[in-house]
Symmetry: C3
Subunit: 203 residues, 3 copies
Amino acid sequence: MDISTTETIEILGTISFAISGTFAAMQKRLDPFGVLIIAFVTSIGGGTVRDLLLGDTPVAWMRDVRTCLLILFTSIATIFFKTHIKKFKVTLFLFDSLGLGLFTMLGLQKGIAFGLSPGICVALGTITGCFGGIIRDTLLNTIPLIFRKEVYATACILGGILYFILIQFTISVVVAKLIVIAFIFVLRILVVRYKLTLPKFVY
Amino acid sequence: MDISTTETIEILGTISFAISGTFAAMQKRLDPFGVLIIAFVTSIGGGTVRDLLLGDTPVAWMRDVRTCLLILFTSIATIFFKTHIKKFKVTLFLFDSLGLGLFTMLGLQKGIAFGLSPGICVALGTITGCFGGIIRDTLLNTIPLIFRKEVYATACILGGILYFILIQFTISVVVAKLIVIAFIFVLRILVVRYKLTLPKFVY
Amino acid sequence: MDISTTETIEILGTISFAISGTFAAMQKRLDPFGVLIIAFVTSIGGGTVRDLLLGDTPVAWMRDVRTCLLILFTSIATIFFKTHIKKFKVTLFLFDSLGLGLFTMLGLQKGIAFGLSPGICVALGTITGCFGGIIRDTLLNTIPLIFRKEVYATACILGGILYFILIQFTISVVVAKLIVIAFIFVLRILVVRYKLTLPKFVY
């Protein structure tokens, strides 16, 4: 049961980030091949960095060709349906937020499976969640939003801490995972909707 | 015989990319030391990323000091001969295209040696071929051409697919390798010469 | 005795780079969370790249939560004391130079421990010393100084060569290390103080 939860989270996260990458690349008017590369990089970026840091190589997507096919089909389907979607920015943002929650949870889990201390697991979850988007924004020459405007990584960190609190209360692990994913997703949306930010330094 | 083919491809690819890196860095008027760094990074970038993803560490250039010496001598010789070369841009472009073909073939081979599926091998070949140039362009603050103007990575992918088709026909492996290298080299030149591009998205 | 020297160098280097990262991020007016991320990345960047290239994974900071806590406390203390420091740029520069010397020495040592040839050890030391600062400058959208204005990496390379010369003369290893660290630190300061640069290419 738990394995299938992990697999479900992985598939949904891969699809979410592939969609967000495809939208971001189409907005920048890349050629179809460039769009596929950006979709691919956004989807596998976080997990690749996570696996490299852990030394769990060959990295995940190289061991399972189905991940690549999933990204390919998702990206092509997104390109096909683009004319039916009007609110581009909102759609991109929603799938990016959903992928953020799902991949943060995956990173957390893998850190725990490697026996790392909770603080490191939270960092690993944050890296897994954020890096796909960072690489996407860097390649598209957008300033990575993570460093300036939105409480982006903070949502992952708070979600990670929440997970370690929840599993203290003998809650089912599956339920705890779903709560954390929903928490990160909703927190990110609330933050952007109500323009919440951390205070900056003033001199 | 096959081992010496691989070694020959590796040496020629290293020289090609070292020359292209040296030219690119001299064009940006870096100091001699900066030129050496860019030459080095262009030459080892693709192979390093390939080895990291595969977990084949310490990465190739750390295990064999001769690679580093080869890059050093190539770069110094290129700096020395620069006054004899008039068509800077063309020379840079030719060596970059040659290196692209050679390194794509090396990545393909290594993927096959690691028992990865053909699709992943093509991706690994493309990464090995393209990453040196991407890192070079990023460090020199040029927009990586791969993402906009030229059918750059596409040549590597088509070359990779061609290799898997060729070896079905009981062609000698060495001949298949040479055909693929020549195919990528010539395709890239034709594309740039006749300004072929994939269509972009229009809104 | 030697182990405690290594640990001392590691702790001092981590603190130095955490301070330099904190200052650089505050200068760019990031929010407190962004400042912590930059401090963290500057401190662990060099060692992480070193460990990835060597395949010594999970990378160092994931195995020891104390490194993360040290960076956290250093960064918070630096933010707290910022009003007492007037010469921001000078302070940032001094700690960056000190960290450069300390981390170059750590990379050298680790290369030797892995049985790599001296030339590769010098390269590894340079990478360990420089990469934290490169990542910091790239993330803050500053042009990495390493590639243009200062003899930055050169100091690391000369320091590395000096180390291999010194240990030929049956000097105590600890003394040789201290000399190399001081050499890199002082060389960098002299170079910047007297605006020494390598000549650029002229066409």
